[in-house]
Homo-oligomer: 491 residues x 2
Amino acid sequence: MAKGLPKRSENYSEWYNELVRMADLAEHSDVRGCMVIKPYGYAIWEKMQAILDKKFKDTGHSNAYFPLFIPKSYLSKEADHVEGFAKECAVVTHYRLKNAEDGSGVVVDPDAKLADELIVRPTSETVIWNTYKKWIQSYRDLPILVNQWANVVRWEMRTRLFLRTAEFLWQEGHTAHATKAEAVAETKQMLDVYADFVENYLALPVVKGVKTESEKFAGAEDTYCIEALMQDGKALQAGTSHFLGQNFAKAFDVKFADKEGKLDLVWGTSWGVSTRMMGALIMAHSDDQGLVLPPSLAPTQVVIVPIYKGEEQLAQITEKVNEIKSKLEAQGVSVKFDDRDTLRPGFKFAEWELKGVPVRLAMGARDLANGTVEVARRDTKEKQTYELENISEVVTNLLEEIQKNIFQQAKDYQQDHITEVDSYDDFKKVLEEKGGFVSAHWDGTTETEDKIKEETKATIRCIPLDNKEEEGVCIYSGKPSTQRVLFAKAY
Amino acid sequence: MAKGLPKRSENYSEWYNELVRMADLAEHSDVRGCMVIKPYGYAIWEKMQAILDKKFKDTGHSNAYFPLFIPKSYLSKEADHVEGFAKECAVVTHYRLKNAEDGSGVVVDPDAKLADELIVRPTSETVIWNTYKKWIQSYRDLPILVNQWANVVRWEMRTRLFLRTAEFLWQEGHTAHATKAEAVAETKQMLDVYADFVENYLALPVVKGVKTESEKFAGAEDTYCIEALMQDGKALQAGTSHFLGQNFAKAFDVKFADKEGKLDLVWGTSWGVSTRMMGALIMAHSDDQGLVLPPSLAPTQVVIVPIYKGEEQLAQITEKVNEIKSKLEAQGVSVKFDDRDTLRPGFKFAEWELKGVPVRLAMGARDLANGTVEVARRDTKEKQTYELENISEVVTNLLEEIQKNIFQQAKDYQQDHITEVDSYDDFKKVLEEKGGFVSAHWDGTTETEDKIKEETKATIRCIPLDNKEEEGVCIYSGKPSTQRVLFAKAY
């Protein structure tokens, strides 16, 4: 077990915090709520970015960049948006410092006050739709399919690394369309892109669904989401895709002339995933020994540790290792040879386990004599000795198998943790004792939703897209209902 | 000529502004000094990022991410840094908005005032060295070789798209070393990386040099730079690499224990290039018809325009074009087939010229009959008709030739515009009538430098690294000097 890492069963929350710290993923900065993403954590984020960016481009999107600052007045333009969303944010009021007269350092120059304060973007719908107004005149200017990779700031009071921070990194897609049908199709397409990414790369199964009225994005007509389960039975929203209707077009007066010259409001979507996905990735598969990374996102997929006595043996092992390394790298596998001479093999094993490297090879004197190498997989911790001859095939197959296995484990967990209940007592019991998604009938009112949340801390995560129609009665109010929705406690 | 684009000879500055706008590279936002980088401009920036990022990784660096906000108090810790640098910046004083009582929108909530104001980072030395203090205990923790891709804000009063904006995008490398020699070597290595990148990808020759005391980065011991010449004879600093000595280690108390356990201050470097390079790229090669992009940075390297009458002919041309396109794409060439049916070929030609696409193919009825295609190069505007058979070889060779040619043109211009002078009269005359770099003896004092700047607006761009020793007298003060330095008016 990793020294100092709490067990999940004892304190899941502390386990997560310590794991993020010990695996060198991120740390708190001195600025309240802002994190430092360390190189190892950032390398995982970069892999996520590269894969997503390619998917966005393959679906016809381009990247662009919009200002960090939003004039305060923009936020008031879309009524729901400002009401539901944009209050807790960083406000820039001045644009200059000056030396303090007492020589103690710098102070804000009171003469450099902005007439209209600027908000550090919490999300960019307003500044982007204000720009789209200039870009769109005719149907020929549509669709606009733009994405932005950026930092955003929301002044959260309680923060946790990756899961909830004041500043975080994300991408936000913002598209504009001539028809409602096209915008709805885009919204759903991007949800599918996210679901595919999270399932196939993060190896994390998701439920695709729609948010209720009270949980949807402020300013959207519909918010689609993907919801994943963590090992403690809590849900985590891993991505959202919003159908904005004509709300932001209305707020910023964005109209286009159709083929007949008739003016109409533009339809919009926005969609985003953030460094929060790092939190999901960390929590989804990891264990009491440390991180378990899916091979497709691991910065280092294979680590090779030599076990030797003396320089000569090390030289012999190194020669063999370099052969293996070249073969694997030729297959596109990222390999690290850990030949640090100040640390023992056991220490290295524990360190790479902590950091979640999917496959570890170890080569000692006996292997050298036999032409073999020991192969250990991180997910099941199984070890097996293989001939060197086919080693690159063995390892590439194993990487694929690990990817599949950790997905399957998470899938099994998810399937075991979607529980149908038909009474409020059972609902509370399942939430308390088992966790996970609770599938229950709900009368469709915000009032009931709020009361259940107040009494149990569970929220409606989504109305699943593949829901079957089913007559029933609301577990809380007893009123009639036509379908079940998924409740859970959530991050 | 591109309709509406001013001629360089008539108004170079307006030519630049209009070119950026008309070629869809960027535009001003409603937020003073902040730009919107449009998809076409951003696609070029992404290419720059990808190439640089690989170079950074090939030289052992990793990416990480540090907070957007810097506590005001940090800025006072390094005396030169705050004095020379960090005054004009965006200051966050509050963290919440609330609804105005009169219902007019949102106002800043006076109850949500920060005790210590936060600065939006103008550069990250302070926040990073404050972090490095936690990362560095022993020589085993060194070197730290980290880079960050980020947005930064400097409250500039006069802004120009890409060249000088309040918010801009950049990368900032920040490294920490056990010895002075290692830090100096790192500083120089990164200067070489920049020079290589700008010369081989932007196709823009640079002079490598060191800044004078008054032009160096506030907080650095030495600032190395690369300086390029624009077509109007003004210089543009395209990148800087700073040897920080132990200044930031001292300010943030960052010490390491060496092998003997003795504590010593850490040595540092920082280095950066920004979206300003976009400005250099645009100005360096473009002409009165529009952008001229080096093939290695052009988002679209080849555009194919069909010239046809009727659907049937278009179908025949499309078939041939698709063959060409596949062949070129297989060679890694990015190709766009412009088959928009609402625009005439002449309009398309002008548009792609404006956007700087290096090679244009046009195929009409006669080409169809002859099995040929017309190939036009953007840089020289030469056109030639080729057999289809070897077209992919012709085009890939041509792309290489264009890359070389526009570099050579810029190199010739640069060589013609480094003028040695030995009197102040000649100095002023060359500055006024010819522009470019003026190579002159200088007495080494800030006083003389300031006076020359005041009288002529020329600054010392750098002391070239490959300078030869040469006895002489300062053109201004007549005092003895041992080498020439390069003066110029600059962006």
